[in-house]
Subunit: 472 residues, 2 copies
């Protein structure tokens, strides 16, 4: 091996952990150009020996640097400095995560480690690319760009989304079926006008609470339908006598259940049984799946035009991108045109054009691939850190999305577990918050939700370390 290119002075009295010191030293060397592209780093074992630290400390530092794109791990060959293009040099982020749900700052600051299932990782967002696209669009901007666009959204963006949805989610639709709106909530407000009054809605239990509140604000009667390991129970749904079922077939929130094809066919059959029945498919984080092949959407299997497909770029790109889309089956598209065609577009043409180029020119796909790797790494890391918990908890929901579930086997309550964690500076979430039908016959076992999207591996490790002390 050639001379060691790492001359780290570790300070045991520093505020920073040894892991952080190693991580920062190497990162700064790469940024400064002292470590060159494609240069090989010493093996983790060798560096640990040399620095007299544990192998885990070096592994974590290398892991973080790989996660952040500074290093590349080549199987059986070791760690190399990545090609410059991938370096997230452009900016220092003040916060590691963007919140997919708005949270006042006081609340955010209260906990050292917040395992929010809504947080996402914005460190790798290609700000430079986004800026470049924005700049180019504004340079070429004509007055038409500053004019009001079509109510449904610009046809260019609708065409791009149509192609993307078909390729990635198997969605079958034409651009004319797509409605672009400023967030899912706006689209649901339109959907109310399309579906009409007094629509009886069935939802999975537990479910996405904001959607529940929104349906209730429409004065829609809502029936919560129980789930089994294959998702919403179609028998119970049939008994509920609802017109519309709101489901998250690819990764139910918060249970993480993915509905298998058999149950999907039952669901679609239910919808086709009666005139005016529809399934609203909320496909909020289908981009991130770690086990098996990505599941196509429910809409992909729909041959009767009974599925309203709703998705958003808030999770996959950034919460600030207030652009969601809704794919309407033809009978509802007709009603949209009659009942809602006069509602102005809620997204500026400039923002639509930026997003269109971001997707069309392949940046979105690249970013998604990077984030899939990121989240998979965090996911694997978290599951590994949770090994000691397996004796007291059943761990589930880990095949997709950005959170996993810990179900207590020792008869403690969710409140008890949450309080223990909070007193130790860790925020975790209770499944009970998502169970809207509180009057159920027997209490469910305590299930805690741990989101990892917004935390770094170091934060995950520290947070789990603290949970270990109070939960095990």
């Amino acid at each position: 091996m050639k001379e060691l290119p790492i001359h780290i002075q570790l300070h045991s009295k520093s505020d920073k952990t040894l892991y952080e010191q190693i991580y920062e030293y190497i990162r700064n060397e790469i940024r400064a150009g002292s470590l060159l592209q494609n240069e090989k780093l010493p093996s983790a074992r060798y560096l640990a020996d040399y620095l007299q630290v544990s192998r885990t400390t070096v592994d974590m530092a290398y892991g973080q640097l790989v996660a952040e794109g500074y290093l590349e791990a080549k199987p059986k060959r070791g760690y190399y400095v990545s090609a410059a293009a991938d370096h997230p040099y452009e900016m220092e982020m003040s916060s590691p995560g963007g919140e997919a749900q708005y949270m006042p700052e006081e609340e955010q600051a209260a906990f050292a480690y917040d395992f929010s299932p809504n947080a996402i990782d914005m460190r790798f967002f290609p700000y430079a690319t986004w800026k470049k696209i924005t700049k180019n669009i504004l340079v070429d901007a004509k007055s038409s760009m500053f004019a009001l666009g079509e109510p449904q959204g610009d046809i260019e963006l609708r065409t791009t989304i149509c192609r993307y949805l078909h390729g990635s989610r198997g969605v079958n639709c034409e651009p004319e079926q797509i409605i672009i709106g400023a967030g899912n909530d706006f689209l649901l407000l339109l959907l109310e006008k399309i579906l009409g009054r007094h629509i009886h809605v069935a939802m999975e239990n537990p479910t996405y609470v904001r959607a529940y509140k929104i349906f209730r604000s429409f004065a829609y009667p809502v029936t919560l339908v129980s789930m089994d390991e294959n998702g919403i129970c179609v028998d119970a749904l049939r008994k509920a006598d609802a017109q519309v079922a709101y489901v998250m077939p690819s990764h139910q929130y918060p249970t993480g259940v993915a509905i298998p094809i058999g149950r999907r066919i039952e669901l679609l059959k239910w919808a086709a049984e009666e005139e005016g029945r529809y399934l609203i498919e909320e496909d909020y984080d289908s981009e991130f799946r770690y086990k098996g092949k990505p599941l196509p959407s429910l809409q992909a299997s729909d041959t009767h035009g009974r599925v309203v497909y709703i998705g958003t770029f808030s999770k996959a790109i950034a919460p600030a991108i207030r652009i969601s889309y809704m794919v309407l089956p033809y009978p509802l598209l007709e009603k949209y045109r009659e009942e809602c065609g006069f509602f102005s577009s809620s997204v500026s043409r400039i923002d639509q054009t930026i997003l269109n180029e971001f997707i069309r020119d392949g940046y979105f796909e690249r970013y998604l691939n990077k984030m899939r790797k990121q989240y998979r790494m965090k996911h694997d890391f978290l599951l590994n850190e949770l090994k000691p918990f397996e004796k007291d908890f059943q761990i589930s929901g880990g095949s997709a999305g950005l959170h996993i579930l810990l179900t207590d086997t020792k008869d403690r309550s969710e409140e008890e577990l949450a309080t223990l964690a909070e007193n130790n500076g860790v925020k975790v979430y209770c499944m009970g918050e998502f169970r809207l039908d509180k009057s159920e016959k027997e209490p469910e076992p305590a299930t805690m939700i741990l989101g990892y999207g917004g935390l770094s591996m170091e934060e995950i490790r520290e947070g789990i370390e603290r949970l270990k002390k109070v939960w095990l």
Copy 2:
């Protein structure tokens, strides 16, 4: 007088009119720097003599150059090249107007001269400034900028809007009373959730048709209330037994009526008479007023918390700016928090930040001042061109906004007048389109609506010339 700095070669065989040739020559000289800042131009009379053209031709060219900010007219001293800062150099616009209401391109192209009351003039929009602000914001952008903001809108922007509304419209409110949303339609959708079901709405007749359709899509019963020269008749309103009245007190659309203070007090008294009564004040184009002092908002006179004030930046800045605001009185703010607090913000933080800086740093005020001058000039020009129409039409509605009304005195129908115009390539609008209560006892005299916001003075002149041929 020093040597004439104008050496125009006029071509009588050119496609372009003499006016256009003079206008373009001087504009290009200024752009090229051949005519310097603060340089004096020859007097119109002198130049007309020199070029052997009519004085009107030169007047029109100078007028257009003043309108576009290339020249300044100094009273009793003549025309000077403006200081460079004001020159709209930055870009050539492909189209003179931005549409405040979406219109498919086929429709736009069908007429040589479209007197749309919704069109605005985007030629002077400070694109360069907007780009600069956008660029700076993106350079400094932290992940927080790409995060989801507060549901009501960022407090910085709400504070800025609050200050602006107080200063320019006399609106009395706190930033916490302001809800920012992606367009007026979105805000009305929220307002439905705040007001609740089965709200009986009264509207002026004629009125803004989209708002009518939106209320009807809420299944709100709507009563159309007649107007006199002081606006909505409060006796008729009282008889309608409505809970909410939707009014445009500063410049009614489309009649152009401004409600005087006496009638305003009656209206406010009506609202205060019963629990739960509200006035929705739509202040869509109050920025542009040509006669007398600007009227303060109705909200400014409200001492009982009965006015919901709604405004937008789509008209005063650009239709693409999908940012509107609603000021809620406290009882409704409380209901907003209960019923709608969970609806996510529909405007991205980036867009909010750009707009905030645009207003806060004085660019908005400057742009408004420029546009007020622009529109006033077009307004005066149009009224002047319409002088020959005074024998056949009564001309009104010209004290504010971007359109005027021509009421026929020769018993022709609106359809007849519109068809005559259209056959000659001119699109004008019929008051009848805004009268929703078609079953009225006696037919109103034909009133044609001529918007001038999106047309250049040359286009106004040509369009009116054509109308003269078919209407007089």
